[in-house]
Symmetry: C2
Subunit: 215 residues, 2 copies
DNA sequence: AACTATTTTTAGATTTGCCTAAATTTTATT
DNA sequence: AATAAAATTTAGGCAAATCTAAAAATAGTT
């Protein structure tokens, strides 16, 4: 399994094909910042290996074997992210790029020992679930802040957008995983929210609210 | 800097060209389990980049820039080995292969934080010195067990051969870094040694003695 | 249903890193 | 010094992963 093959599987998985959903060639190309023709080439190769279902012009979906492989890569990625934050004091907006490299290291023992060192974490620094050795994981049953009514309150359990820019915005406004958040009011005009975050009050735009998960 | 380029630089460094020594094409090829013609190709590329001195038929040596790069890879390799042993309970004969992968991860912050987590170790699990951020390192002034006279004693500070087979032999005979060793006698016929290792007495062959460093 | 626009695939080229086989240069030996 | 042996380089080719440009298929729109 080459690094490139692993990246394709991971991308297809993230684009929603844990569920037999067929993914567009174009969508994969865009996500991976590559060209559609490259995706077609790889689709054929992965189909050969039994990791994806592929028929010309019909889109691409993961097979069971493909899902299993994708989950093992996601597991590695998220364990490494957790390691970087918990053990090496990285900020949560700094871990993605490095984890993209570390996720391709091939050593089952390494990843199991890492899991142990971290005391078998269930969620990564962005609140995303970490698959176990056998691919099992529990998603939080969470809600987007933007979809909750005025008066609702809960704990921030994750973010949808993990971009550095967004995470830094959250840091600046002291929004982090574990913080209690309450919706004090909503602006009808633009959907912006008046929040109580911990002990403070803040306004956040609709766009921000669309990327914060509450439980 | 590609992974392959990094591996060439590291190999040339290990074959003794920290010191302007010219290294044979063949020697590099053998060490890397590749063909001499591939080495020639890479020599040209690395020369282009100013990392090696290369003239047709004259062998290859590292430039200052090449040494600097090689040292940074060696630093990463040895820090990762130390991490695997100290933090993940790997045995010293299990770390090399994984470190060969980890040494190519690109993140200065990662390696500096790792160094810090490990409390700035000076030597790796095999007793080899770990270069600092600026490439400086102190080699133990050590002696090969095979070159010491009867009666000599010291502390085991390293091994010359880091192969799994050799390290497992040492484990079996309870020889490890930090153990006091004394030469009780030497067999003139085959050079085998009668040793006191910690509280025990052992015979070891000349071949074994050629791969243990004492201080 | 016909046509247009979009998506997807094919064909052919490129780069990296490697290979084999043959040619060349250096080194060792007579 | 001539020749044989060994080391090294060149030339040409291959596989992986990508690209561009053109062709083909599908989807959307009058």
């Amino acid at each position: 399994m080459t690094r490139s093959e692993e990246n394709y599987l991971k991308t297809i998985f993230h684009l929603g094909s844990g569920d037999d959903v067929s993914i567009n060639t174009n969508a994969i190309a865009e996500q991976m910042e590559t060209k559609p023709s490259s995706v077609t080439d790889m689709a054929k190769k992965l189909a050969e290996k039994g990791l994806v279902n592929y028929k010309k012009y019909q889109g691409i979906s993961l097979t069971d074997a493909g899902v299993k492989t994708a989950l093992s890569i996601v597991r590695k990625h998220r364990l490494w992210e957790t390691f970087l934050v918990e053990k090496l004091d990285f900020a949560w907006d700094e871990v993605h790029e490095v984890a993209e490299q570390l996720e391709h290291i091939k050593s089952e023992k390494l990843i199991d020992k890492l899991d142990q060192l971290l005391q078998f974490p269930k969620y990564d620094p962005h609140g995303d679930p970490i698959p176990g050795k056998n691919g099992e994981f529990q998603e939080h049953n969470k809600d987007l802040l933007s979809e909750l009514p005025v008066g609702a309150h809960g704990i921030c359990v994750g973010v949808k957008d993990s971009s550095s820019a967004f995470l830094q915005y959250l840091d600046k406004h002291e929004i982090s995983i574990g913080k209690p958040i309450q919706i004090l009011g909503k602006e009808a005009f633009d959907g912006s929210l008046h929040l109580k975050i911990g002990e403070r009050e803040h306004m956040v735009s609709h766009q921000i609210a669309c990327n914060i998960y509450l439980k």
